[in-house]
């Protein structure tokens, strides 16, 4: 199968993730969409690695996974804190600083 198809899939997943970040209101869902975008990047890395016949892309995919895991730790900590103080994880409710 032509590896370029995986690139199309990766671009599609990335777009779905980006649309989700912009459209969804729950901070957890927004965050999951960011994770989807990172995974789309991983798919692109691995596909390009296959196209070029070198392993750089696969190594980068591992790094991305580690970074995504670290981001989950920090992100969930922040989202849980704000949920406990407001009883809502909606990004629309976080508007104390609106002008």
């Amino acid at each position: 199968m032509n590896p370029v198809n995986y690139l199309y899939l990766s671009a599609l997943l990335f777009t779905i993730g980006a649309a989700g970040v912009l459209l969804r209101r729950n901070a957890i869902i927004v965050f999951m969409c960011v994770e989807l975008m990172l995974n789309a990047c991983n798919l692109a890395f691995v596909t390009f690695s296959r196209i070029h016949g070198n392993l750089d892309g696969q190594i980068i995919a591992f790094f991305t996974m580690v970074v995504a895991a670290a981001e989950v730790v920090v992100g969930l900590a922040i989202i849980v804190t704000i949920f406990r103080s407001r009883h809502s994880a909606s990004v629309d409710d976080a508007n104390l600083m609106k002008l």
């Binding site: 990335f14 901070a27 890395f45 070029h52 970074v67 922040i78």
Partner: protein, 549 residues
């Protein structure tokens, strides 16, 4: 042989005698500034885990200051041994550059962070709680604001000493960021300094809801932008088959040895252009340039003020360093494509930053929009694409970061019963009540405005001169005009402080400990010295303005 067969041969080699993985060669001595900072950060984590609560503050302050001073010493030693000029090279298997711009910016970041750590450690501004001195950070980050648990933690005199190791981790990431010589290192460094900053934003002692809101906004938008950066990296990797800046530049200029796969992807300009644009987008977000600036005012307002000062100063240095290296080392062959884009971004950033700042009523938001406008001025120097462009941007960053840090340190001093009095109307008549603090703040505002004999003027002059020499005269005209608009609101604050009557129930100016005094004094001294005698530092930046590849 197909591409897939070459890939398979990578992991199907017989595990005989010939199968050896060569260990990477790491130049520890040349990476020592970063390693010292990370070492101190790890020590800080251990200190927080094992020391009794009462001795943590002193130990953390000692570790942080020792680590940062040690790192600055290491930068000086490397620079004096010629690594900034003739011995510049790529360390750690081509992942990290040790060259003039990297060392200059690392030195700046370390010094700025050292001063920032002083403001973090300030414990005389908040009123004592049950005899215990407290700082600007929450007693217990996990406690719900206003809950019994929070009251108990405050009564027990808890403090969040974790901020010191978090800061050191962020500093380490910021030091690698402008030195990253491949896109993977760039991405990892970006996350290493961003993640601690998200947490630091959420840890204010007063107005905790605002602080948490700032953290959520910064985190979600930051993660969103770094996903764009990562997809851009994937596309550039797909285009060039490598992530090293030098390798990408070779493929762009067509001097790289071609394989059939590379010939196919390198013929596809869409990969290069979209990838480059997405990476640029990620960096411009960190810089706070205009289409990607929306997070700046909210995060600057909500974060604890010492953290805001640290972010505003050090992040900008790191992000502009990385932007310069990416554009000048990896994508110089594409400059006819990125220059017009950056022209537009620079003009928008200067104009929007300056005009929106006029309408602000909160000091921290005002400084946030002023930092956006300054990002535009610095971008004008980036657009120059000349060696002067590099050195003027580095000089501007050094000059600007100390002024910013000093200005935010002054903001922490003006207080009322609810904490810091950041609304501008509360600052009316401050010059009558405490002339010294108001005068110092006025010096910083004049430096922001770019009045001669301050570092702001020297920096702006250098940047605009480089931009004009680089053929961006219209950009300079827009820059000077928006400087004039910006000067209006800086002067307005000075007029408000000195020429209006103080209200009877106005804020008081707290007397800080020597820590904050040092930070503010350092800001004033650098503002004046870099303003009156800029030549030595301009020469220094000039000597350090050659990238290695």
């Amino acid at each position: 042989m197909t591409a897939s067969a070459t890939v398979h041969s990578l992991w199907t080699t017989a595990a005989g005698d010939g199968f050896k993985i060569p260990a990477p060669h790491i130049e520890y001595a040349q990476l020592s500034p970063v390693l010292i900072v990370f070492g101190a950060a790890v020590l800080g984590v251990l200190a927080d885990a094992f020391l009794p609560r009462r001795s943590r503050y002193g130990a953390q302050l000692l570790i942080s200051v020792a680590g940062l001073v040690g790192a600055f010493g290491a930068v000086l030693v490397l620079a004096s041994n010629g690594y900034a000029t003739d011995k510049a090279h790529l360390a750690a298997m081509g992942a990290v550059a040790v060259d003039g711009p990297a060392l200059f910016l690392q030195g700046t970041i370390v010094l700025v962070s050292l001063v920032a750590v002083f403001t973090f450690a300030e414990r005389r501004l908040e009123p004592k709680t049950d005899g215990a001195r407290t700082d600007a950070f929450t007693a217990q980050g996990s406690a719900v604001p206003g809950s019994e648990q929070e009251k108990a933690a405050t009564k027990a005199g808890f403090t969040t000493t974790e901020v010191f190791p978090l800061t050191l981790f962020a500093v380490g990431g910021m030091m690698i960021f402008p030195a990253a010589a491949d896109l993977l290192t760039l991405f990892v460094a970006l996350e290493v300094f961003s993640l601690p900053l998200y947490l630091l934003c959420a840890l204010a002692r007063r107005r905790r809801m605002l602080s948490q809101e700032a953290a959520v906004k910064y985190f979600l938008l930051g993660a969103f932008s770094s996903a764009f950066l990562l997809f851009g990296i994937a596309l550039l990797y797909g285009y060039a088959g490598t992530v090293s800046f030098g390798g990408i530049a070779d493929v762009v200029s067509g001097t790289a040895p071609m394989t059939p796969a590379l010939a196919e992807t390198a013929g596809n300009d869409a990969l290069l252009l979209i990838g480059g644009a997405m990476v640029l987008m990620g960096l411009l977000f960190k810089v706070g340039a205009v289409p990607f600036h929306a997070w700046t005012p909210d995060v600057y307002q909500g974060a604890p003020t010492p953290v805001t000062g640290f972010m505003a100063a050090a992040t900008k240095v790191a992000a502009f360093g990385a932007l310069l290296r990416l554009l000048y080392v990896a994508l110089p062959g594409l400059r006819w494509d990125w220059r017009p884009v950056l022209w537009g971004v620079a003009i928008l950033t200067m104009v929007v930053g300056a005009i929106v700042a006029v309408t602000q009523t909160d000091v921290k938001r005002l400084l946030a929009y002023s930092s956006i406008a300054h990002a535009g001025f610095i971008l004008a120097g980036v657009v120059a694409t000349t060696p002067d462009g590099i050195s003027s941007v580095m000089f501007y960053l050094a000059a600007y970061s100390f002024v910013t840090l000093g200005a935010f340190a002054v903001v922490t001093l003006v207080r009322d019963a609810g904490g810091e009095a950041t609304h501008l109307s509360r600052w009316a008549g401050l010059g009558r009540r405490s002339p010294l603090v108001a005068a110092v703040f006025a010096v910083f505002l004049l430096a922001f405005a770019g009045i001669p004999l301050t570092s702001g003027f020297a920096g702006k002059f250098a940047v605009f001169k480089a931009a004009a020499d680089g053929g961006a005269t219209p950009l300079v005209i827009v820059g000077v005009l928006s400087s004039a608009v910006a000067a209006f609101f800086y002067i307005r604050v000075i007029v408000l402080m000195f020429f209006s009557d103080p209200s009877p129930e106005g804020p008081t100016v707290a007397v800080p400990s020597p820590l904050t005094t040092t930070a503010i004094a350092f800001g004033v001294v650098t503002t004046v010295v870099l303003g009156i005698l800029p030549q030595y530092f301009l020469d220094l930046a000039d000597k350090a303005s050659v990238f290695v590849r």
